[in-house]
């Protein structure tokens, strides 16, 4: 081993190189090591320690190969080499002067990712360096011995790739090294444990294990996870739609773009051929649409929820009355919505409008709603639809032609039909449908369906929709409130939840409210009253087990309600013998 030791020292040189300046206790830092160090210095700068190490390794291996005797040595060497190489990297990049274990570790951590990429080299190199740093003669001696082992392996593999310069060299060597490593990998596992005497090496070893094997996996193709294509697809599709819509907006392209977009939009819209009629109306429609888009984009979204709630009751009241008045207000709101949303849906809807559709207003409404739900961008669709519809409604009252242009997105040309014949009746229906649409836009997040395939079943659903317009206003605001609590649920759960789970929560809440009302009713009647009072609620909470002897109502109030409510619910004594809230 003496000769080998000498060679080992030289082999160590690359790693020792970095540590050499600081660590004196290197028995191996003898003639051979120094010579190697010099070689390293010459061959590579501080940066390319890897290169330098490689070169040195290459030089050394030739001599080492002959001396290689045992597999163990090779394994150990590889281990050491890696650790040392990494250290060398770190050291070269960092401060060569101060190499305390702490700094080394820090450097390692900093450069860990780098080293992983160039693992073979770093793997080879770092091994000796930690040994060197240890600064204990025994360690160093051991390290020298160990250095011998790793060196044996890399040299054999590296020798082949000597010619390639720099990075290419690395890669080639890596490939070659891989083979060597793979062979020596099972053996190298053990030496890792042996080498872990020094904490540095152990820390390095930990990293070694992982990069070793994944390297072969990583390198082959620099395999990277493909980006989320799905998101891109949708986004790209929307972008295309936008482009097409914009193109459509320009009157000149109205003819061509609709046709072009037809095939793409068929999925979203009803498959109705609308080539010629679209031309005449599209300009007017698109003019209005771009106008919408340019206004407040995001405020509309926020306002949607408010609008839906406010519109719902308002619409109900006014629907029989003054649809015309409501239409402009709604139209404005819808416009805001439309503006915030992408133009794609509007473009699509514009195209749809052209189609002379059947006289099914409800169908249109349903389609619009469904489409809005089904569209990948639920909000967008609803927004655009809403805008389109509002426009339609307005125009219907005014002009019969407008209906064509106002086709909501995706929906078939049925809207046109409804618009023309039934101005008065349709307007009210449109209002209702719009009401449906608006509230739909609010809860869509919980019920969003990305697939646009649902558009097809829309026509089937349309007929029942028209009849169930009555309970609709009740459901929508109700649902928004439920969704509010559903969000609370997800917040309390502190875990990601599925959309279906949220729906389930809403159902449970629904049942819970039913039970709640029943109980309150029973309590009130038991007390001989017909109105529910807070005492009933307290009793309810008692029965539910929420309020015990340990936990009182006030405690619960303090826990869950905001401060203001607390003051309102819990009587506090103020100065002047006054209690608030008064009891």
């Amino acid at each position: 081993m003496g000769a080998g030791g000498a060679r080992l020292c030289s082999a160590q040189a690359p790693w020792v190189f970095a540590t050499k300046t600081t660590n004196p206790a290197m028995p191996c830092a003898e003639l051979g090591c120094r010579g190697l160090e010099r070689r390293l210095k010459e061959s590579s700068g501080y940066r390319g320690l890897g290169f330098g190490a490689q070169k040195s390794l290459l030089e050394i291996p030739s001599s080492r190969r002959l001396s290689i005797s045992t597999k163990m040595n090779v394994r150990q060497r590889s281990q050491r080499a890696r650790s040392i190489g990494r250290l060398a990297h770190v050291q070269t990049s960092g401060h060569l002067e101060e190499q305390t274990p702490r700094t080394l570790l820090k450097n390692i951590l900093l450069t860990a990712p780098e080293s992983s990429i160039v693992m073979p080299e770093s793997v080879v190199k770092p091994v000796p360096t930690p040994q060197v740093v240890q600064s204990s003669k025994q360690e160093s001696s051991r390290g020298s011995l160990e250095l011998q082992l790793p060196e044996l392996e890399p040299p054999t593999t590296l020798a082949l790739g000597l010619l390639a310069p720099g990075r290419r060299k690395r890669r080639l060597r890596l490939s070659v090294f891989q083979q060597g490593i793979d062979q020596g990998l099972p053996l190298s596992q053990e030496p890792h444990g042996n080498a872990s005497a020094s904490f540095l090496t152990s820390s390095l070893n930990l990293t070694f294990a992982t990069p070793l094997q994944p390297q072969s996996v990583q390198r082959p193709g620099l395999a990277r996870r493909p980006p989320t294509r799905r998101a891109v697809d949708v986004g790209a599709f929307l972008q295309d739609l936008q482009d097409t819509s914009l193109a459509l907006a320009s009157p000149g392209n109205s003819l061509r773009t609709p046709a072009a977009t037809l095939p793409t939009d068929t999925v979203l819209e009803d498959t109705q051929p609308f080539s010629q009629p679209l031309v005449g109306h599209s300009p007017s429609v698109y003019h209005s649409l771009p106008y919408l888009f340019h206004t407040e984009a995001k405020d509309a979204e926020k306002a949607v929820s408010h609008r839906t709630q406010s519109n719902g009751p308002r619409l109900q009241n006014h629907s029989p009355g003054k649809p015309a008045q409501l239409l402009p207000t709604k139209a404005k709101k819808v416009d805001a919505l439309a503006m915030s949303f992408t133009n794609t849906s509007s473009a699509i809807s514009g195209e749809d409008e052209v189609e002379p559709s059947q006289d099914v207003v409800s169908e249109e409404a349903e389609e619009m709603m469904e489409e809005s739900l089904n569209m990948g961008e639920v909000k967008d669709t609803t927004g655009t639809q809403g805008s389109v519809r509002t426009e339609k409604s307005e125009r219907h009252a005014e002009m019969t032609e407008a209906f064509e242009a106002k086709e909501p997105e995706g929906s078939s040309g049925d809207k046109d039909i409804s618009a023309s014949p039934e101005l008065a009746s349709s307007t009210t229906e449109f209002l209702q449908t719009r009401q449906l649409q608006f509230p739909k836009s609010a809860p869509p997040p919980s019920t969003a369906i990305l697939s646009s395939e649902d558009l097809e079943p829309l026509p089937t659903r349309l007929p029942p929709r028209a009849r169930t317009l009555g309970p609709r206003p009740r459901q929508d605001p109700y649902k928004t409130g439920l969704s509010h609590y559903a969000k609370l649920f997800s917040f309390y759960a502190r875990m990601p939840m599925e959309k279906k789970a949220l729906e389930m929560v809403e159902k449970c809440l629904d049942k819970y409210f039913q039970h709640l009302c029943d109980d309150l009713e029973v309590f009130a009647s038991h007390a001989g009253r017909k109105t529910v009072r807070p005492e009933d609620l307290e009793l309810l909470m008692h029965r539910q087990g929420l309020v015990n002897d340990q936990v009182s109502l006030h405690v619960l109030v303090e826990r869950h309600l905001p401060l203001e409510y607390r003051q309102l619910l819990i009587p506090c004594a103020f100065s002047g013998n006054s209690v608030f809230p008064a009891q």
Binding site: G481, P496, L516, R533, P534, L537, H560, L561, L569
Partner: protein, 97 residues
Amino acid sequence: MALSTTVSQRKKIKRKAPRGFLKRVFKRQKPHLRLETSVDLLVRVCPFFGWLAVGQRKVHLNCLLFVHRLAEESRMNAFESKCGVIKKEHVQAAAKV
């Protein structure tokens, strides 16, 4: 309901119109019985914050606690099944019990 103006510190979710929602709940009550009033209308004379009736608040508190319990239960179910996501089944199982 501008709860957000005052609350929103502890509540991450701004309570929009709890009053309106409870009114909806009241509508729900309608189907099975009427005259369940005064809970909504029980407005305390509070010069500071008289936007929500005490009864309504209590109902609100009740709902909160219910949701809280349900969420805890379903979260435990999800943990038991070692899922990182709360699924429908977890919620259902929690609700049945």
